[in-house]
């Protein structure tokens, strides 16, 4: 006779609560570099992520200090940013202008780029490290309420 394991407990709402709370915390923490403005943080983040998303899986740029050079960054057309971060145009464009004025985003001919030099600033490296630690903390909290990451101790 086949013995089936008991069904896993339904922990979906607990997981949603943990992840959402951690994300709000993370965003608040990361927004320190953006005058504590979470929206500016998300717009800045969307630009750099989409500049470099094609590098996911490229082992040359996996380590904290192996920052991709400007030459490999893919400029982000404003329309693509609007699709990635849907919100009223007047708000989005206000923030883009502010990021350009701060010098952390450049308007290249084919789109927006966060230049490599921005990532070498000490607070940016610290922020990257801190974000990694937040993710480790979130994983621990999720496991605490029974979320399975699919690898069991032997």
């Amino acid at each position: 006779m086949t013995a089936f394991p008991p069904p896993p407990a339904d922990n979906r709402r607990a997981i949603v609560r943990i992840v959402a709370t951690e994300m709000v915390r993370i965003a608040g923490s990361m927004a320190k570099a953006h005058d504590n403005d979470v929206i500016e943080y998300f717009i800045f983040t969307a630009i750099w992520v989409l500049n470099s998303n094609h590098l996911v899986g490229d082992g040359r740029y996996a380590a904290l200090r192996s920052i991709p050079p400007d030459a490999v960054r893919r400029p982000l057309p404003i329309d693509e940013l609007k699709r990635a971060l849907p919100m009223p145009d007047e708000i989005l464009l206000l923030y883009v202008d502010r990021l350009i004025a701060k010098g952390v985003v450049e308007q290249a001919p084919s789109g927006l780029v966060v230049p490599t030099a921005v990532f070498t600033q000490p607070e940016m490296l610290e922020g990257t490290n801190e974000l990694y630690d937040h993710m480790v903390h979130m994983v621990t909290a999720m496991r605490g309420v029974g979320f399975s990451f699919g690898e069991r101790s032997t």
Binding site: A9, D10, N11, R12, R13, A14, I15, V16, R17, V19, A20, T21, M23, V24, G28, A31, D35, N36, D37, V38, I39, E40, F42, T45, A46, V49, L50, S52, N53, V56, G57, G59, Y61, A62, A63, L64, R65, S66, I67, A84, L85, P86, M87, P88, I91, N129, L131, Y132, M135, V136, V139, R143, G144, V145, G146, S148, F149, G150, E151, S153
Partner: protein
């Protein structure tokens, strides 16, 4: 326990690149609950997560259908919401007013709450379920770039 083990290769930048991309994708998907406005989604999420943060670890409210009663919601003040978002106060207040007008946020003694009834709406239940599934995608994506989740008990 989840750690970056001694001798493990440094994959922090790759993890953040992959993880953040997945999170942005999820935010974009869930903004459909707010007429495709991600700013509205962030304000709404900040309110309900503050309302229920103290319930993390409370086993009575862990399953998809066990929504905490309104009496267990911890209201968030307008000032705390403003501090949490950090965007211009008038913009955040505009979203709050809109939510109150739609009946998805209530102003109670002590601040703002999202009533439990809102979470029982079919779109919201579907979103909670989808959120869980997207976490599984995030896990898979992070594993691909070498993030170690340690081992389940």
């Amino acid at each position: 326990m989840t750690t970056r083990g001694a001798g493990a290769s440094d994959n922090r930048r790759a993890v953040l690149r992959a993880g953040t991309f997945e999170i942005l994708k999820s935010l974009r998907a869930f903004s459909r609950l707010h007429e495709g406005d991600m700013f509205a989604l962030l304000v709404f999420t900040t309110i309900w997560s503050a309302n229920g943060e103290h319930l993390i670890g409370d086993e009575r409210y862990t399953s998809l259908h066990t929504i905490g009663p309104d009496s267990t919601s911890a209201p968030i003040t307008d000032e705390a919401l403003q501090r949490a978002i950090g965007a211009p106060a008038a913009v955040v207040a505009g979203y709050v007013d809109k939510f109150i007008g739609l009946g998805v946020v209530e102003r109670v003694s002590g601040g703002l709450i999202i009533p439990g009834a809102v979470f029982t709406l079919p779109d919201m239940m579907d979103a909670a379920n989808e959120f869980y599934d997207r976490m599984l995608s995030l896990v898979a994506s992070l594993r691909t770039v070498g993030f170690s989740f340690g081992r389940d008990a």
